[in-house]
């Protein structure tokens, strides 16, 4: 889910963009930011974050603003999954998996946390049990098949599963597998500790994270010793700081800045990277209580290209009907085979007239303080109204949205638009009476995911995930529109960026001057 952004920030963003163009028209804004960063000689770098997480408690929080910086840099998982599917050691220096895929034995690295305390089997037991009990469902879900987490010796931990679980194994390379010292539990929200290449020297909310290289890191010493992540909630201010040479990178540029980025020519002056990991699918959510044909008709009013065009950067997103990101093997861009309800406004209008759907009042809930979502809503609502639907837009802030939609039972909406993690498991629904906030519940879909989870081979896993994706799109409750990519802008001299391995975390130790 997108982190919290307030409406003031949104308005300021639009107005600062206007001011930039205004000032540019007055005198031009050509600067010489291409010059080498003054931080290069000092072995430092300054990056920009758009959001302040407010808490760094990765056990309780799933805010993107936290996940970008803490995992992998400060706190490491047991293992790392590479882009090509290979697995590398993390806090576990080695591991064995039984042939029946029911027993995982992790050999814990003989190392220390950044505070100098040794990493023990007890710390690993504590960490895994804490994540197993996490109130964040996505984190705890990795442990659904886990029946025991035991200490074998001071450096060995054994995890026993009731059934094979791909989710468990992949989770050990994600936030679910992060290892922290129990002794620091009380400080996790402001000063998390781990075995990562950096330690957090200081975190001032709404101001900055200060990272310094962890002197006890077990791996290769980070190339850049001191890293500051400055929190600049106004996106244009962040771009201005980059142009002024005050910062070296905006590694995550949210969708509301894409158009400005192109218009100011920043994509040419700086190193532009696009990568799927920090991307998110943007998708419409239709309440499952609505008639299936009505849902299909709404789906036909969605012109994916218009959403893509609205963000003004063709390189930033792909049109898709699959709930996934391009780095997931079951992903497919928009095409005739994978889009059961392609854009067809005339067909939709005919169905609305024929079925009398105009008499069905539809409540459209939209987030007012998240630009990535209010802009698509600005397109979607008029399109639906133009087609003949009777839609009432209810624009609300995140906290209220959380109450009405995420907490509400039944959720108080007919149509909404969301973006967030491309984790298809979030739509699993074993018990129809406990359908999640999306209202979606499908026994077939849930079974396909369960079959994928117990798959013993990657091939079988992929086949089941493709099957699940197909069920999801045909049910027309979760309707993907575009797959946004992660977009980053770097000083040309700052090199080494690699795509995130632990969820969306930007790995700072890969960057170098």
């Amino acid at each position: 889910m997108q982190g919290t952004r307030n409406s003031i920030t949104k308005r300021l963003g639009l107005l600062t963009a206007a001011a930039t163009l205004f000032a540019g028209a007055l005198g031009g804004l050509a600067t010489t930011a291409e010059a080498a960063s003054p931080r290069a000689a000092e072995n430092k770098m300054i990056l920009v974050a758009r959001q302040d997480p407010g808490t760094l408690d990765f056990v309780k929080s799933n805010l993107t603003a936290m996940r970008l910086w803490i995992p992998a840099n400060i706190v490491e998982p047991l293992v790392y999954f590479n882009k090509d599917g290979s697995v590398e050691p993390g806090v576990a220096e080695s591991w064995t998996i039984s042939d029946d895929k029911l027993t995982y034995t992790f050999k814990i690295r003989d190392t220390t946390f950044s505070n100098g305390a040794p990493v023990t089997a007890e710390d690993v037991l504590y960490s895994l049990n804490t994540m197993k009990a996490s109130p964040v469902v996505d984190y705890a879900a990795a442990y659904e098949a886990v029946t025991a987490i035991e200490k074998v010796d001071d450096h060995t931990v054994k995890v026993t599963l009731s059934r094979p679980s791909q989710n468990f194994w992949r989770g050990m390379g994600a936030i679910s597998g992060l290892i922290q010292p129990e002794a620091n539990a009380a400080n996790i929200a402001t000063n998390p500790i781990g075995t990562g290449p950096y330690k957090l020297a200081n975190y001032t909310t709404n101001s900055a994270f200060e990272f310094t290289a962890n002197p006890t890191y077990w791996g290769k010493k980070p190339a850049v010793e001191n890293v500051t992540v400055r929190i600049v909630t106004d996106g244009t201010a962040g771009l201005n700081a980059l142009e002024a040479g005050e910062v070296d990178s905006l590694p995550v540029i949210t969708i509301d800045l894409w158009e400005q980025l192109s218009k100011r020519g920043l994509d040419k002056k700086y190193t532009l990277v696009t990568y799927p990991q920090v991307g998110e699918p943007t998708y419409a959510v239709l309440n499952q209580k609505l008639d299936k044909e009505l849902r299909e008709t709404i789906a036909r009013t969605l012109d994916r290209q218009s959403y893509n065009d609205a963000f003004g950067a063709a390189w930033g997103a792909e049109n898709t009907c699959t709930f996934a990101l391009p780095n997931q093997v079951w992903y497919s861009p928009e095409n005739a085979e994978t889009c059961p309800f392609p854009y067809d406004m005339e067909g939709a209008m005919a169905t609305i007239a024929e079925k009398g759907y105009a008499s069905t009042p539809l409540e459209y809930a939209s987030l007012s303080d998240v630009p990535d979502l209010s802009l698509p809503a600005d397109i979607m609502v008029p399109a639906m109204q133009g087609a003949g639907f009777n839609v009432n837009r209810n624009a609300i802030d995140l906290a209220r949205y959380s109450q009405l939609i995420f907490q509400g039972r039944p959720p108080q909406f007919d149509v909404t638009i969301m973006s967030g993690d491309a984790n298809p498991v979030q739509w699993a629904c074993p018990d129809p009476t406990k359908a999640g906030w999306s209202t979606y519940c499908s026994a077939d879909y849930t079974k396909a995911l369960a079959d994928a989870d117990v798959a013993l081979t990657d091939e079988a896993y992929t086949a089941e995930m493709k099957k699940a994706a197909d069920i999801l799109r045909k049910d027309a409750v979760i309707i993907p529109l575009i797959a946004k990519k992660g977009v980053g802008l770097f000083n040309p001299d700052l090199k080494g960026f690699e795509e995130p391995r632990v969820n969306v975390a930007i790995e700072l130790n890969k960057l170098h001057w």
């Binding site: 929080s61 109130p135 709404n206 303080d369 906290a399």
Partner: protein, 315 residues
């Protein structure tokens, strides 16, 4: 005078009580809770309820209200749900940004407004007076964030003289902290000056037409002497009022400026906590601000009493 002061103090305490109830009800009535925001959309209602319970948010509202007030009266402003940090510490840390910002903005505004406003009043009807009146009128219409953005673009991006934003803490580099504040203070001060110029001009114009000023001129004072020795005290009354109001406005102005320049000030912290529904942080911080604003108004009223004996004798 004692009755006058007592009456103002009773009003002060009553206003604070009413404000505390209003703040409490408004933040609760806004809906949502910190547990839902922290856990995000993937959380089950059970998980949200459990976390909200651990925060004590499921207790009856009046229990929560009296608990909060009792703690406030004992000097405990509460703790953040998300980080367990003390609200007092959170506020104190941010005052080192907000106080210099607001105070410098106000002082800059006054330094510009008093001479310019007086000059505009003395030259009313002349081209220079008209130009000043026009410029101040335009200044009033310019939103403070717009001024901030343009200053940032000019002095930060284009000329590279000052940081476009961000904050260097006083403990790290006092010079860096001052540099961080220059553009925000300029933005606040210039816009505030535009507002104040108009009030100073009106007040001085009003005084210039009074009989006592003519009398002062009649006994041999020059126009400037009469203004400074006789007029200033009388013109200061409406000015004190407007400065009091501007201090309250400053809090709103700093929200925008802190956002534009990415300063970790009190206003921005409060805004972020409202969005996250950190109710205790918001309640206690807003309460402190209200006490400050009402306190300033109390001070203004008392100053009125001192400056003008007619005020303290009136009912």
């Amino acid at each position: 005078m004692a009755i006058y002061v007592l009456r103002k103090l009773v009003f002060f305490l009553g206003a604070i009580f009413i404000a505390s109830v209003a703040i409490f009800l408004l933040i609760r009535g806004a809906g949502g809770n910190v547990a839902a925001v922290v856990l995000g959309k993937g959380a089950t209602p059970e998980a949200i309820d459990a976390l909200a319970h651990s925060y004590g948010l499921d207790r009856p509202l009046f229990v929560q209200y009296f608990d909060w007030i009792a703690n406030m009266l004992s000097g405990d402003l509460g703790r953040s749900f998300r980080t367990n940090e003390s609200v007092a510490d959170l506020v104190t840390a941010r005052l080192s940004v907000s106080i210099p910002l607001a105070l410098s903005g106000l002082i800059l505004g006054l330094i510009i407004a008093i001479p310019v406003g007086t000059y505009a009043a003395r030259n009313v009807g002349t081209p220079s007076g008209a130009i000043l009146a026009l410029v101040s009128q335009v200044g009033v219409a310019v939103p403070v964030f717009w001024a901030g953005i343009l200053l940032s673009l000019l002095f930060g991006v284009r000329l590279g003289w000052l940081p476009t934003g961000g904050w260097t803490d006083w403990s790290v580099s006092p010079w860096g902290a001052i540099r961080s504040l220059v553009l925000p203070v300029l933005s606040l001060g210039l816009i505030m000056a535009a507002v104040l110029i108009r009030y100073v001009r009106s007040a001085v114009l009003d005084v210039m037409n009074q009989d006592y000023l003519r009398t002062a001129r009649a006994v041999g004072m020059t126009r400037t002497e009469a203004l400074l020795k006789v007029g200033l005290r009388n013109a200061s009354l409406p000015l004190v009022t407007i400065v009091g109001l501007q201090i309250a406005e400053l809090i709103g102005g700093t929200v925008i400026i802190e956002t534009v320049f990415s300063l970790p000030g009190l206003s921005r912290m409060m805004l972020a906590n409202v969005a996250a529904r950190e109710v205790i942080v918001v309640q206690s911080t807003v309460m402190l601000i209200i006490i400050f604003v009402i306190g300033v108004n109390l001070l203004v009223d008392l100053l009125y009493g001192i400056l003008d004996p007619r005020v303290r004798s009136s009912r």
